[in-house]
């Protein structure tokens, strides 16, 4: 099927052919033909954001909550540069998005024309791949290829920069055929011999632990299913990264909680003391490993990842398996089932006993209060009151994000959207809008901080316009809490610029935008207030006034190892735990 049409029409046609129902964007001079083509159809729904960064994060939220490719449409110059943070965020967290940007007409490129910028030059470092389309003949192929590159292998953001004259030019459009990319063909199946070797190592392990990451989520729901099967077959403990939450159900006894800088004591100690680590779709990020030369010193390490460059990047492993998580896990399950494994039951028993000892330390505990709302308590109540619904959680970045990860229990993949790698404040609200657009009947909550939410607060307008009933649950402690915590740790409690002064009245702010505002500062009234938020049919800002001084613990201080955590009851003098070398780190 090939037809004559303009470049702008081709873009809309390709979106339809790629199964895209919703895109997020903002019009401008260099994309007017595309907006005109959108005007003439009603299959592709356009969500008008209020800032292009919001479009990018909304596309990410859409992608992460559906497993599909998210799409944003921005104009040239500032439209493209505003999208850069979101593109970088998607690159760091391996989120498949396609960004279509307008560009000045080809004959003006390089002339410093109005709203011109070198979009492919600027985004080369923050995309998986990008294209400048100079000829209408190339446009259909590039459009389809972009969707393939964004989603295949380790997913990521792709930019297609389309000059305005190419949007007006007429050419022949053809629908996507089974794409066989000439250079980019990621390996999905893992090496059979290596998988066999991995299963043998697992059968022989005395102190094993699964360490799983965002790759399991990206691999699709099948990977999460297979992971659950394998974990239950082997009886091994499992811990997940921030990006990997939900792949394994958190209430299960084999789950040790999140690991890493603000991970659970039992998870980090299990990582440190294990004799076999099975890393699945995780990348040994510095928030996870802590001090590298003291990272899990006595373990053999198996690493399954679709990206060969992730293997041996930060931590040298004993067995690297390149492949898609679902494919490799499937082979592992089959092999495990087919063999009779003589596991060392006694060793496993004593391993679990040790883990239970760490667990008994209750590292996520906090001092309850009847006077003020403890932020952890707020998350726990939010979880209890929403767990029986179809709930999607997004976050901003900071203490509230870590508390959400620690205290909200995820049982399904694709329900948790957070900015892990880049740590982008302002991610949560647009991401929530993206998730809500894909799941109109679900409850979507952005767990936010009062500082983060102000970074993309303009998207409240988008939520109201598109009747996107997201709930913004602000843990308001009047501080950039994580900054304050680090200033306490490293800089003698000199809280330079971390106090959120001149905050808006969030209830009035909500009303100003046509949303509903709720404020609560009394723990006794919290449940009713949360219920009010859930039951309200529209957009809600919940200004939850929490304890201003609470620190996010437990914590591996920078420069320390997994077994050197600060625990909640040891935080009297956290200003003295980090040495000079640790202070250099971020």
């Amino acid at each position: 099927m090939s037809r004559q049409m303009t470049g702008a029409e081709m873009i809309v046609e390709a979106l339809k052919d790629q199964g895209v129902e919703t895109i997020f964007g903002y019009p401008g001079g260099a994309v007017l033909p595309i907006y005109d083509a959108l005007f003439h159809q009603n299959k592709v729904h356009h969500v008008l954001v209020r800032h292009e960064q919001g479009a990018g994060h909304a596309a990410e939220g859409y992608a992460r909550s559906t497993g599909k490719v998210g799409v944003l449409l921005v104009t040239s110059g500032p439209g493209a540069t505003n999208a850069v943070t979101a593109l970088t965020d998607a690159l760091m967290d391996s989120i498949p998005i396609v960004c279509i940007s307008g560009q000045v007409p080809t004959h003006l490129i390089g002339s410093d024309a109005f709203q011109e910028c070198d979009t492919v030059g600027i985004t080369r470092h923050c995309t998986k791949h990008n294209y400048l389309v100079k000829r209408i003949e190339d446009l259909p192929r590039i459009l389809h290829e972009a969707f393939y590159v964004a989603a295949a292998g380790r997913p990521g953001p792709v930019v297609i920069d389309v000059p305005k004259d190419v949007q007006f030019a007429v050419g022949t459009y053809s629908a996507p055929r089974g794409i066989h990319h000439k250079t980019y063909q990621p390996k999905l199946k893992g090496d059979r011999d290596k998988i066999r070797q991995a299963v043998a190592m697992m059968a022989a392990a005395k102190k094993p632990v699964f360490y799983t990451g965002g790759g399991v989520i990206n691999s699709g729901p099948a990977a999460s299913h297979l992971l659950r099967e394998l974990v239950q077959l082997t009886g091994f403990p499992i811990t997940s990264t921030l990006m990997g939450l939900g792949a394994y159900p958190a209430p299960d006894p084999q789950w040790l909680g999140m690991l890493g800088m603000h991970g659970a004591y039992e998870a980090n100690n299990a990582m440190h003391d294990c004799d076999l680590m099975i890393a699945v779709g995780a990348r040994f990020d510095d928030r996870i490993t802590g001090r590298l030369d003291a990272f899990s010193p006595n373990s053999k390490k198996i690493h399954i990842d679709i990206d060969p460059s992730s293997i041996n990047k930060n931590v040298k492993v004993d067995l690297g398996i390149v492949g898609d998580c679902a494919h490799v896990l499937e082979d592992m399950v089959t092999l495990w089932r087919s063999g009779a494994h003589e596991q060392d039951k006694k060793a496993h028993e004593s391993w679990w006993k040790k883990i239970d000892g760490w667990r008994a330390r209750n590292s996520l505990a906090f001092k309850p209060s009847t006077e003020t709302i403890k932020p952890q308590y707020a998350i726990q109540r939010l979880y209890e009151l929403t767990k029986d619904r179809k709930t999607y959680i997004t976050t901003e970045v900071g203490q509230h994000q870590m508390w959400a990860a620690q205290h909200y229990y995820f049982t399904e993949p694709n329900r948790w959207m957070t900015s892990g790698g880049l740590g982008t404040m302002g991610y949560g609200l647009p991401a929530a809008i993206g998730a809500q657009m894909a799941h109109r009947d679900a409850l979507v909550i952005d767990i936010a901080g009062e500082a983060s939410i102000l970074m993309n607060i303009q998207e409240l307008s988008t939520a109201v316009q598109f009747r996107c009933p997201v709930k913004i649950f602000i843990l308001n402690n009047e501080y950039m809490g994580m900054v304050r915590q680090w200033q306490e740790l490293l800089h003698g409690g000199r809280y330079s610029q971390s106090y959120s002064e001149a905050l808006p009245d969030f209830v009035k702010l909500a009303e100003a935008y046509g949303a509903h505002g709720i404020r609560c500062s009394d723990p006794a009234k919290l449940d009713d207030a949360i219920k009010e938020m859930i039951d309200h049919p529209g957009v809600v800002i919940f200004d939850c006034r929490v304890d201003k001084a609470e620190n996010c613990l437990p914590m591996i201080p920078s420069g320390k190892a997994h077994n050197e955590m600060i625990l909640p009851d040891e935080d009297d003098d956290i200003g003295s735990v980090i040495d000079d070398k640790g202070k250099m780190l971020v």
Binding site: R124, L132, K316, S558, M584
Partner: protein, 183 residues
């Protein structure tokens, strides 16, 4: 070379840093705009070294270019560089010639030397010993063309320095494996 060792960062890799090697990589790429920028950007963005880099189209019909990169790093870093290069979408193939077996690398240099009298005779005698060709001559200068390994060219340039070396233009390293196989 006697700089004091900086204290190891707690986040720096536990992998050894002492055994730095030089490797020659052959990279086959689609000859499309921006591909060289992607490769060079990868090296600068991730802090890898480039000792030499050459690029030219090698198969017109297929629009294939071959980039030869000489880089230094520990074996672990070199492996990372190869894998990171492989992630770049328009890259067809990355081959580490240094681990792949025997290979040849050559560089071409043009060396301008100015002088009069006795030094001119000495210049020509040395050029002959290095099999450097005279490709331009005036009564007071020569331009030599010289092909060879990087060290051979370094040696020649050093010899020319006291004899009136004016300037040098070098192509960087091109490399190919020995034997009948292709990369």
């Amino acid at each position: 070379m006697n700089a004091p060792a900086s204290p190891p960062s707690p986040y720096s890799s536990a992998i050894g840093k002492s055994n730095v090697e030089s490797h020659t990589l052959s990279v086959l790429v689609d000859n499309e705009p921006g591909v060289l920028a992607r490769v060079v950007g990868l090296f600068s963005g991730r802090g890898y070294n480039i000792e030499s880099l050459t690029v030219a189209e090698v198969a017109h019909g297929e629009h294939l270019s071959r980039i030869t990169i000489v880089t230094t790093g520990t074996p672990e870093v070199i492996e990372q560089i190869s894998h990171q290069l492989e992630r770049i979408v328009p890259i067809h193939k990355v081959t580490d010639l240094t681990v792949g077996g025997k290979f040849i690398q050559r560089e071409l240099a043009m060396v301008k030397v100015a002088g009069k009298g006795e030094s001119r005779v000495e210049t020509l005698r040395l050029a002959e010993a290095f099999r450097a060709k005279v490709i331009d001559a005036t009564t007071e200068s020569f331009v030599f063309e010289l092909t060879g390994s990087t060290t051979k060219i370094d040696d020649f340039v050093e010899l020319m320095r006291p004899l009136g070396l004016v300037e040098v233009s070098r192509t960087g390293v091109a490399a190919i494996s020995r034997g009948p196989e292709r990369i």
